[in-house]
């Protein structure tokens, strides 16, 4: 799925925030980042951490709720953490923001074609098939995952796993890590 219509930019009045944080891959980093939100009583709605193409650099996507001034505080305080390389509040930027979901449904051979057809509509696919079950992979916005789950519910969802969102802006500039950007 590509194209401008997938790019979400939050608007004024909406207090959902998305931060992209590049960090050094060191023990305790996640703890420090999470603690910073916890002590200010901000719930983290979703969190994703994973490696990047650069050695020793991890990338986090954090979704939380904060008004503009709280978001500024969070950004400035994230920058204060020694292992944090770069912080971007991408909330108002055009970007692609996706989650990955794995959904196991209890369908045997009989109803399988029916389900596979449904998946096509959602741009999802089956990644594992057994005599009694189907594991479905879906990438999209959380709302799309929710829709798919709704449709699959009657077939019997055994398990649903969903990652935190990963976000990427449309900017062609390579994010400069480290001393590049002052808060």
């Amino acid at each position: 799925m590509t194209g401008i219509d997938d790019v979400a930019a939050s608007t004024e009045g909406d207090d959902r925030r998305t931060f992209v944080v590049h960090v050094e891959d060191r023990p305790g980093v996640l703890d420090r980042v999470a603690s910073l939100f916890r002590r200010r009583a901000h719930n983290i709605d979703s969190l994703h951490v994973g490696p990047t193409h650069e050695d020793g650099v991890s990338r986090m996507t954090i979704e939380c709720r904060a008004d503009a001034s709280q978001a500024k505080r969070l950004e400035a305080n994230l920058y204060k953490l020694v292992p944090v390389l770069r912080v971007d509040d991408v909330t108002t930027l055009e970007r692609v923001q996706r989650v990955l979901a794995l959904i196991k449904v209890a369908v045997g051979q009989a109803r399988r074609p029916e389900v596979l057809q449904l998946l096509e509509v959602f741009g999802a696919r089956a990644v594992d098939v057994g005599p009694e079950m189907l594991v479905i992979e879906m990438t999209g916005r959380p709302s799309q995952v929710k829709q798919l789950a709704g449709v699959l519910e009657p077939y019997g969802i055994v398990e649903l796993a969903q990652t935190g969102a990963v976000a990427m802006t449309r900017s062609v500039e390579k994010p400069e890590l480290g001393r590049g950007k002052a808060a």
């Binding site: 420090r32 400035a76 305080n77 920058y79 292992p83 890590l177 480290g178 001393r179």
Partner: protein, 605 residues
């Protein structure tokens, strides 16, 4: 008491007992992790550490004896952390404390939090259970990096001998650079016992995400100059950053050129001379009324290295409504945190002032100064020495006399409570680092141990502790350490029989119900004597001079029990969360009984 055949060590230079000190090893020498700790510390310039041994840190202690580092055995690890803090505040260098795992480490926590809130550079070394036992609830295992995560600038868990030296180097660098702060290095016992080659180079440490320094933008500096030149009622708010950033000379020059009055935060006292004619005094909750009034009247606030703490601003909505605000601050996270400012300048305050000074033109501000003098008028705390002696002993008198009899030259370490505010009001500090106090955390029990640390940092200073009867008893066990170390320290206990500051709030805001604030104390004179120290007492004003003189003439640690008026209040006062303009003034005396703490301009003679 010490046995007669063990002479107490007398200062940082005194070598530890036991084996002869050995010179530092060459790079590449294979050493135990324990020895590597001291190789790193000595190279970082450490000559004194404050601590308390125990199982998980024993290898480090055993190795210590061979190094030229004086260890001060405290009576509680909280004392060790405050001593390291006091050492750092007094010297500007990194203070070091050391403790064992579990309870030893958790006892450091209050001292670490105290240092964190006041930006004090400190490295705290703790022993940890062997790495294989981490997470097993082993004997004396506490996850101290987890516990201290929100109260340290950074912390580290070391599991291998080869990581000891690089981690400690990084810890010292992080602690002292940028906005300073405490760093915990938790070292597993097997990392101390294991061996590794000594690695050391003097290359600068590079941490890719760490930004201790910030360059002010030229356009912002130009804008600051324009705002200063245009202001008619400007006011400087000088904070702890002036002291930490060593910017006193620049601030003096700034005031000389621009004729802008200076007010200080509690931690900023001493950063600008308190007796300077352009010094207005302290701002905030117990700041001088005219300072707070000046803030409300000003058309420009030039905030230098301060963070608009809630004790300084009162109610934010009504704070300095007429003023444009310039905020010079090293930590970007402080910008717009409490007070929204018109011009933030992120950078080192000394560097920023150095860049601003050449661009400023000389000013005199007669009208503004006349207005300020009028505000000062009859609410001024003038020289209270000329007040009649009615036999009562007021804390303010004690502090004021202390100021006079020490010539204002003492290094004063105050604790937390009413006496702390009286100290700030009546002892004028003319030099940086001559007042140490726990401002941000307000930690009772800080003063005595912090003063002991300060004494090691400044062996020639006349060090006075100003402490309440309550706070003194929180860390009074360190008197025993004073005796063992033979420390020169004078302790003024402002003994009012109450947790005075809490009692004052109860009197003012809780219907006068004194719940859990009357406090019985031991005989402090006998307590001092029990430690082999000198104890003195004063109960009337005319005794103050003699006991202060006697204390100054007596060697060693002297404890003075000043039996002051019990239900005395600190004025003026901005109630918590109220407008700065709504200060509670000193009670008026019109026709009523004479209150020596109420002064008018007429008291000045």
């Amino acid at each position: 008491m010490l046995h007669a055949d063990v002479s107490p060590a007398t200062g940082p230079a005194a070598a530890s007992p036991g084996r002869a000190p050995r010179p530092l090893s060459d790079v590449g020498t294979v050493l135990s992790g324990a020895a590597l700790i001291w190789e790193a510390l000595v190279r970082e310039g450490v000559d004194v550490v404050f601590g308390y041994p125990g199982g998980a840190i024993m290898p480090a202690y055993d190795a210590m004896a061979r190094y030229p580092v004086h260890h001060v055995l405290t009576r509680h690890e909280q004392g060790a952390s405050h001593m390291a803090d006091g050492y750092a505040r007094a010297s500007g260098r990194v203070g070091v404390c050391i403790a064992t795992s579990g309870p030893g480490a958790t006892n450091l926590v209050t001292g670490i939090a105290t240092a964190m809130l006041d930006s004090v550079p400190m490295v705290c070394i703790t022993g940890q259970v062997p790495s294989a036992l981490l997470g097993t609830d082993a004997f004396q295992e506490t996850d101290i990096t987890g516990v201290t995560l929100p109260i340290t600038k950074q912390n580290y868990l070391v599991t291998r001998a080869e990581d000891v030296v690089p981690t400690l180097r990084e810890a010292f660098y992080v602690a002292r650079s940028g906005r300073p702060g405490p760093v915990v290095v938790d070292i597993c016992k097997d990392a101390q016992q294991g061996k590794a080659p000594l690695a050391w180079d003097d290359e600068p440490i590079c941490l890719p995400g760490y930004r201790p320094e910030h360059e002010p933008l030229p356009a912002d500096l130009e804008e600051a100059v324009r705002m200063i030149e245009a202001a008619e009622k400007p006011l400087i708010l000088a904070g702890h950053g002036i002291i930490e950033g060593d910017a006193t000379a620049q601030l003096l020059k700034l005031v000389e050129v621009t004729d802008i009055p200076v007010s200080q935060t509690l931690l900023g006292l001493g950063g600008f001379p308190g007796t300077h004619p352009k010094s207005l005094g302290m701002m905030g909750m117990h700041g001088e009324a005219w300072v707070n009034q000046a803030i409300q009247e000003a058309d420009l606030l030039l905030a230098l290295g301060m963070r608009f703490d809630d004790r300084v601003t009162g109610r934010l909505a009504t704070y300095a409504p007429k003023a444009k605000k310039i905020h010079v601050e090293l930590d970007p996270a402080e910008i717009d945190k409490n007070v929204k400012v018109d011009l933030p300048i992120v950078g080192d305050v000394r560097d920023v002032l150095n860049r601003l000074l050449p661009a400023l033109t000389p000013h005199t501000r007669r009208a503004w100064w006349d207005a300020l003098d009028a505000m000062r008028g009859d609410s001024a705390v003038r020289d209270i020495v000329s007040l009649p002696d009615e036999g009562h002993l007021y804390a303010a008198h004690v502090i004021h006399d202390l100021y006079r009899f020490t010539g204002g030259d003492a290094l004063v370490v105050s604790d937390v409570g009413q006496h702390q505010m009286w100290e700030a009001q009546y002892y004028k500090h003319d030099t940086p680092r001559s007042l140490l106090t726990s401002g941000g955390l307000g930690t009772m029990g800080f003063a005595l141990p912090a003063a002991m640390g300060a004494r090691f940092a400044c062996p020639d200073a006349e060090v006075w502790v100003v402490v309440g009867d309550g706070g003194f008893q929180m860390t009074a066990c360190e008197l025993s350490t004073c005796a063992q170390e033979g420390l020169e320290l004078k302790v003024a206990i402002i003994n009012n029989g109450y947790l005075g500051m809490v009692r004052q709030w109860q009197e003012m805001f809780y219907g006068g119900r004194y719940v859990a604030t009357p406090m019985a104390s031991p005989d402090f004179v006998k307590l001092a004597e029990a430690h082999g120290l000198t104890g003195l007492r004063a109960t009337t004003r005319d005794e103050v001079k003699d006991v202060v003189a006697k204390a100054r003439a007596t060697r060693g640690t002297v404890v003075i029990d000043f039996r002051v008026e019990q239900e005395d209040n600190v004025y003026p006062m901005v109630p918590s969360g109220a407008d700065l303009a709504d200060m509670i003034q000193r009670p008026h005396q019109k026709g009523g009984a004479h209150n020596p703490i109420f002064e008018t301009g007429a008291d000045e003679e």
